[in-house]
Symmetry: C3
Subunit: 474 residues, 3 copies
């Protein structure tokens, strides 16, 4: 029953032959452009240590919350995939035979049909590992052996792959308390790959986190500031931003449950900080504090030139039982309805017209594309739109983003593609897919005489390469 695994050279391009030929011409000129990855979650340790990856299961399955969530939806338990719960006492037996786990995954590979996971993985299987048959229960062992054999070779060490993948720059994301030792080691290593960090201060600005107070104290220690005062806390944050910049950071990132911003008087902001730090917060205080901190971060970006990213609207750890047993990032997070027009107004009232400040917006609520995000980005100088995020990093969803945002925001208020992934092996697959979909969209415009082909060719290069470099100041 083995079927060929075939990556068609014109995959994801429009079906109509004439439109496809336009798209193919556009894509041909961007296919081989270097990869600029300005936002993602790879582990800098991989590149500083340059040790071989373990095996197919620990590399491709365990860290991928897209795979875990879908497998769980079909009744596959995490224990059966080899992931142990934290609450061991009542735990079911945990699988340990990685070959058997890989076979279980292969048995369920069909459930990923028409999801982006399938498209990314097939690309990895075919282009990175040279596999030529489809993953099925019958080919599971062949896959397991082939992948594991490859991973043991020098050609599959992280730095070799970075180079093979044609990556020009790769941004990781670290918390404000991270000491960045792997980035430091990389900087000293002499390796020419460009791995930069990104400053993500969620753990020190979110009073709803259990470790918030401890984190603020630790922030003070790292920054040699007294973070028990509002002034010292802000100074410590500015200090950490400066430290991150020494290791290449050009951007900050903010993962907030909502896009709410605030612009409190310094006196009120200080009083609020004191309440949340003393764990005397009143209802709503945490939300307002996070809102105020977005505005403070915007101010710091005006001061230090770091690009600000806002990923708003994820309900993290909605599946509390899963979170308590297996921790974060297992697939139990969900989008929520998100407001931007009202939420961002306090910040925009202060910085909206600044031309030296850039705030890149990401949403999980597609209804905001045409109603809020594109109109806002099509007016405020400081705003640009990030690419479709997470659940929407997929062919149909990417087309919806372009179709729903371009007529109000144009192309030049967007910032190119983010792979936003910890799945290092899939980075080329994700950029390949995004470039193909953008060329598909551009070809539609050309075929219906909404854009001339010479212009589309210019835009294709901008979407694939230039806009990310310029927006992220890389």
């Amino acid at each position: 029953m083995s079927r060929p695994l075939h990556l068609d050279p014109q995959r994801f391009l429009p079906a109509d032959p004439q439109v496809r030929s336009i798209a193919a011409r556009l894509f041909g000129a961007v296919e081989a452009l270097p990869i600029v990855s300005p936002h993602g979650h790879t582990d800098p340790r991989w590149f500083s240590g340059n040790e071989p990856f373990d095996d197919a299961v620990s590399l491709l399955l365990w860290p991928d919350h897209y795979l875990l969530r879908m497998l769980m939806s079909q009744g596959v338990t995490l224990e059966s995939l080899g992931l142990p719960p934290a609450d061991a006492p009542d735990a079911a037996p945990v699988a340990t035979d990685r070959r058997a786990i890989w076979r279980l995954f292969a048995e369920h590979y069909r459930v990923f049909r028409a999801t982006p996971s399938r498209l990314w993985l097939d690309h990895v299987f075919a282009t990175v590992f040279g596999l030529e048959v489809r993953l099925t229960p019958e080919t599971a062992d062949h896959y397991f052996d082939t992948i594991n054999a490859a991973l043991a070779t020098r050609e599959y060490l992280p730095r070799a792959l970075y180079e093979r993948f044609g990556i020009e720059v790769l941004a990781t994301t670290e918390g404000a308390l991270d000491t960045l030792e792997h980035h430091t080691a990389l900087a000293k290593s002499g390796w020419k790959g460009r791995i930069i960090t990104t400053f993500r201060p969620d753990d020190v600005v979110d009073p709803d986190r259990a470790d918030f107070v401890a984190n603020v104290l630790r922030l003070g220690e790292l920054a040699h500031e007294d973070t028990s005062s509002w002034r010292g806390y802000l100074a410590a944050l500015a200090n950490r931003r400066a430290f991150f910049r020494t290791l290449g950071a050009t951007a900050t990132d903010h993962g907030h449950p909502t896009a709410r911003t605030a612009d409190l008087s310094p006196h009120k902001a200080q009083a609020l900080f004191e309440r949340v730090l003393a764990a005397k917060q009143q209802p709503g205080d945490a939300e307002v504090f996070r809102a105020q901190m977005l505005t403070e971060m915007a101010q710091m970006s005006c001061d230090d030139g770091m690009v600000m990213q806002l990923h708003a609207g994820a309900w993290r750890n909605h599946n509390e039982i899963l979170f308590n047993r297996f921790g974060r990032d297992r697939g139990g997070d969900f989008p929520t309805r998100t407001d931007f027009t009202a939420a961002l107004k306090p910040l925009l009232d202060r910085f909206g017209s600044r031309r030296d400040f850039l705030l890149i917006l990401f949403t999980l609520d597609e209804s905001t594309y045409s109603r809020e995000l594109a109109p806002l980005a099509g007016h405020y100088p400081c705003l640009k739109l990030g690419p479709p995020w997470w659940f929407h990093d997929a062919p149909e969803a990417m087309l919806r983003f372009r179709r729903q945002s371009t007529e109000s925001a144009g192309f030049y208020n967007t910032v190119g593609f983010n792979d936003d992934t910890r799945a290092f092996f899939s980075i080329p697959a994700r950029h390949d897919l995004a470039r193909r979909i953008d060329c598909a969209y551009l070809a539609e415009l050309v075929a219906t005489h909404r854009l001339d082909e010479d212009e589309a060719a210019e835009v294709a290069v901008e979407l694939a390469y230039r806009l990310a470099k310029s927006a992220y100041r890389l």
Copy 2:
């Protein structure tokens, strides 16, 4: 001016010749599959009595709220269509000449252009009644005579049509207080058709209904339980569920204004029940009671294995004047913005990871497809997505459902098609349309190399037949 009524063999398939040929191949293999109709509103009396249907107007026009709503929107009154208001004193004259009513309908048939009603009716006219010209004022009499003549023959008796339509199983929907005598008669009749009931307890769980208290009392009588107590009320519901299962029910259905669920302590639930039963409810009590009852019903489904369906988000009887004069289901109901991610959390916290429980979700708010429903169903083992419902049971809307849900939920967290109709004659038309649109979507995936054709062929059969059987445990 008579124009041919022609059902093109490739209708609803994509226009592009290559994609259409793929879709046609896929559809060719599912076109003749038996119809599994796991959720609908046909009248079991038709099949137990097997009497002839009256005439074109009473069969095709009066019960169809899609037709009534559109005709009203164009200024046609229900009185002119022969429907008498309940408030006779001030009523306008009511038409009684059915041929004249049919002519009035024919005069307005053009307003249904590009609506699903038109597609379904043309299918009924052509395939069930053999009509070969389009319905226009000029052909109205021909239609009226042809249809009425056919209805008087044995070939048009309900059981004969059930068999001619290729129905394998047909679920009706009955309230908790229904005595199911027609199902009982059917079970004893020896007829081989499979007509099963579905348990819909809205009338005994919704304190906003004027007859709620009386209904709860009647529930107790039927179940031989004391429904003045919370414990007895729950026991009576479990008892009725068991009774419905003896007449084939495998599923329950819940029509709620919102998807809100609750998980009150038994003590609080009991106190709430006592308040609503004593008509001492406080603001919000009715909503919380309905919310709690969804969770109680989920518990009972875990106990007795019945599949649970939730149809959330309809504002029933928004047109109050219409409701007061003409009663329910005349076309004056509307979708409302619906939340699922927060609303379902209490239920999911208890049953979300159960693999022996299935909750099928339906929405009238398409903005929830990509933002809430597909991500939720793509993670929680107990959740699956019902097909596009009511206003969204239409070609473009079905494509939106697939395009917006598949990338996060895949195919295997959906449950195939529901015709959800009381328009028995249109059941083949509705399944035909749904199968064509699913094949159209699959062909797009194949043509753009997002799915191989052998896989699409397998999925087509699952969407048309197998998923409904397995999800509804038929």
Copy 3:
């Protein structure tokens, strides 16, 4: 680097050759139909005075908030475009050289790629001014000279263009306090062009406006009524409506932040009026007053036969700094999430089933098309849907409107196209685009056998011409 500016005869029609040929046939029969423009913002003074337009910059750039917003988003200041701020003291230097301003615009013309502004302007450049090369920095001077030379000729006087454009009727929009002297002059002029006014009472029904009380007083003076009383206020409004009707008005228009309506008792309405007029309003009073006034206006429409338009859901002057410095309509307005089903209920409870009353609904929130607007318009006799508005007056957005509204509302609960513009020169471009997109949509229906071509041809004429005339009673 000059590239040809070519308006393809089949632009905006579907790419598939067979579908395109259907669309081209449909469009061929509507392309030359007269333009009915029942809602817009041109200046009646142009037609009463019939003076030449100044120059390219003051004609095409300054009044176009679509252009200003996009240029600002890219960091171009209004000062550099020649627009002076009101707060002169701290103002940057304001450009005065119009040729230089035009060059600056040309340098940024690329940012409009794939936006409707680009499509409209290219149509104006090619068809109105005969330009044959694309606007680029290199051709900026050629454009500036060509346009300005043309504007100085008799052929480019307002009345000549009205006739050249094939306009049958053109509605402007005036506030309740407008004395309509230009319309009066036009009526006396003997010119055969039909320019009618529209009654827009926002300035006298919105207590949130700083000039509300003064406006109500002025309303009384104009109408010779005592507007310090609720009764006199209503009488004055009725009086002004009658005055507007003498100058051709067949419609009113209402721009409200929400679609909320109310149906207060006369006693409560009077008390509310007295509070807002005395500037003693309580929180929420302004919103309820606007809501009540929509219902009062509906009552007056029942009395005097004027068609009522509701443009709901714009957050005006969101960019307050811009508003304070440069005034209204500079591009700093944004859509907001809008509710209709609940909001309109009070009004619909009174007038929903009236067949002599028409309320045309417009939204900036596309999520309401399939969830609220199409179902409502597909039932209530008094409701119809206006075309896609403002940010959604664009090719993709127009297709979304048809695809998301037609299956529930059909075509006959819509009202054709509105250009809704103050950009007089672009009126033919906007109608051309709308007609092409409607034909594209119809051709898709025909090609997929959802509508026969003879029917589509009839619908195309109705969408392009007849529905606007009948809905607006022109």
